[in-house]
């Protein structure tokens, strides 16, 4: 789909969505973690916003790499290295490219998943980012296989990510500070899976706007 303008647009919208949900994500984290997820993510994406102008007209790999380095150097906590590594790996999927197609989009997601798995030593079902990211990727893939367009694909991805977030309410946390709660983490949704959902939803929203 995308040329770099649309890509910048997506990143900008993603950043704004995360910042808007600062309180919400922090409240979720307070219930089962240490109550800083929204604060840290918002801080990181504020920094991304301030660097957006320098990223314009750059290739997509460079844009993603810039986002990654900004997150790694500003977020801290567990989400900094996790999202940072996800963006850094994703950047390798589109290195030097000014346009991307469906295969590239799937590659971006695959690399991001790989990054989170490696850095966080986590798998699906452990109440983490992966519980919304992986279903979203699978929905995207399925939709593309049916020859659907980007908007349909990201609608499906959003829906799958949301289901993933709901699923995290039913399982015990095995990673991060929430894991100390054991059974007591059941009933709460994972803040990381939720921030991933918010990011995927923001992509769908931009595609929807452009479609009008």
């Amino acid at each position: 789909m995308a040329n770099t303008d649309l890509f910048i647009n997506i990143i900008e919208n993603m950043a704004k969505a995360v910042i808007e949900n600062k309180e919400y994500l922090t409240d979720l984290d307070r219930a089962i973690g240490d109550g800083d997820h929204g604060i840290n993510m918002s801080k990181g994406f504020q920094a991304v916003l301030s660097k957006l102008d320098d990223m314009r007209d750059k290739d997509l790999g460079t844009i993603l790499k810039n986002v990654a380095m900004t997150l790694i150097s500003t977020v801290g906590g567990a989400s900094g290295p996790l999202y940072g590594t996800a963006f850094l790996r994703a950047a390798t999927a589109v290195d030097g490219k000014m346009d991307i197609d469906k295969t590239d989009i799937l590659n971006i997601f695959e690399k991001a998943i790989e990054g989170v798995q490696t850095r966080g030593k986590a798998q699906v079902g452990e109440k983490t980012i992966l519980d919304s990211l992986v279903p979203a990727y699978e929905a995207l893939k399925k939709s593309y296989e049916k020859e659907e367009g980007n908007l349909e694909a990201f609608r499906a991805a959003e829906e799958a990510a949301l289901k993933g977030v709901e699923y995290t309410k039913t399982i015990v946390a095995k990673k991060g500070r929430a894991s100390y709660l054991g059974e007591r983490s059941i009933g709460h949704q994972d803040p990381g899976a939720t921030s991933t959902y918010i990011m995927i939803k923001s992509i769908k929203n931009i595609l929807e706007e452009n479609h009008k």
């Binding site: 922090t26 307070r30 973690g33 240490d34 109550g35 800083d36 604060i39 840290n40 801080k43 790694i72 150097s73 500003t74 977020v75 801290g76 906590g77 567990a78 989400s79 900094g80 290295p81 996790l82 850095r119 966080g120 095995k174 990673k175 991060g176 500070r177 894991s179 100390y180 709660l181 054991g182 007591r184």
Partner: protein, 332 residues
């Protein structure tokens, strides 16, 4: 929220400025980063020790920077691990060409960020290794969790590895000593009140007037369970029992005891806990070699305490007794 602050987003920066101004004979700032190092860093030929983590645990970790303890401390946002870039700056600032040992508390974020910093430093040719402290017996240690947390016992690790590095041991040896401390170290904490992270503005968890939270960590994260508050002796016995159940101390083996306050508990209560710890240990014939009572690793204004027990051998005793001269710990 009622706090003596200016801007919730500037608390770490303003604290670090005040800390360096308060202890100019010990500390200097790595400009532009949330890092303090020993005034005479880097010490050529000496293994550099770097610790750190989220802020809010003062005097940890900056308070232990000085002779015989840490060379550098990295201060993340309140209860948030510092970024790899910050840790990397600390490593560079203390590298005296004998390698740098990172002392990490076992939290997902800390481990990831310090590991990334290690990768950055190694790419620049600095020899870096790390040890992970996981002294908290309240957390289930199984392959299905991230393992036990690092809490107040970490300050024993700072003290003993610091003495080992000061003595001139090489990196692998300092690491060996650090791992020996970790292997023989157990802690458990409890709290009466939550704390308020300045940027969040709300209490970290809710707790009834007559309740206490057992086994909590040092970040305001809830503990393992709530129960009705009991007497100091009952609370102490419960925590000590949990600790001793998890370690093997033979009759004549000596231990070091740390009674740590979480920030909002008066020393009076810490001494009351200490009294019972000594009484109980005497009953089961475990000799106490050394006792530390005070606020070593806090959780902002949380009321609560933790007990740490470290089993000693001759080597650890000697290193525990060695000179240390830092803003928050002085043994001359």
């Amino acid at each position: 929220m009622k706090k003596i602050i200016n801007n919730p987003n500037e608390v770490v920066e303003e604290m670090l400025q005040g800390m360096v101004l308060g202890h100019p004979e010990y500390l200097k700032r790595v400009e532009g980063f949330e890092v303090v190092v020993r005034k005479d860093s880097p010490k050529k030929g000496k293994v550099g020790l770097v610790s750190g983590g989220g802020s809010g645990h003062e005097p940890s970790h900056g308070g232990y920077v000085g002779e015989g303890m840490l060379d550098g401390a990295v201060a993340g946002e309140v209860f948030t691990s510092p970024t790899p870039g910050q840790v990397f700056e600390a490593i560079k600032a203390v590298d005296g060409e004998a390698g740098v040992l990172l002392i990490i508390k076992n939290y997902t974020g800390d481990v990831m960020n310090f590991e990334m910093a290690k990768e950055l430093a190694e790419a620049e040719g600095i020899d870096v290794d790390f040890i992970i402290v996981d002294d908290d017996v309240a957390v289930e240690n199984s392959t299905y969790t991230v393992g036990r947390r690092g809490i107040a016992g970490t300050v024993f690790v700072h003290k003993i590895t610091g003495a080992a590095a000061e003595k001139g041991l090489e990196l692998a040896e300092v690491k060996r000593v650090g791992e020996k401390v970790i292997k023989n170290l157990r802690s458990m904490g409890m709290s009466l009140t939550p704390c308020i992270v300045p940027a969040a503005g709300k209490p970290s968890f809710e707790i009834g007037e007559d309740e206490m939270e057992m086994g909590l960590g040092i970040h305001g994260e809830p503990g393992t369970h709530k129960e009705t508050i009991k007497s100091a002796d009952e609370i102490t016995d419960h925590m000590l029992e949990r600790i001793l159940k998890d370690m093997e101390v033979k009759g004549d083996e000596e231990v070091a005891v740390m009674i740590n306050g979480l920030g909002g508990t008066p020393l009076m209560e810490l001494y009351i806990i200490n009294r019972e710890v000594h009484k109980k240990l005497e009953e089961i014939s475990i000799p106490v070699y050394k006792t530390w009572v005070g606020n070593f690793m806090t959780s902002l204004e949380m009321a609560g305490a933790s007990i740490s027990i470290l089993k000693l051998d001759e080597e650890l005793k000697e290193l525990l007794d060695a000179k240390a001269d830092t803003p928050a710990f002085r043994q001359l």
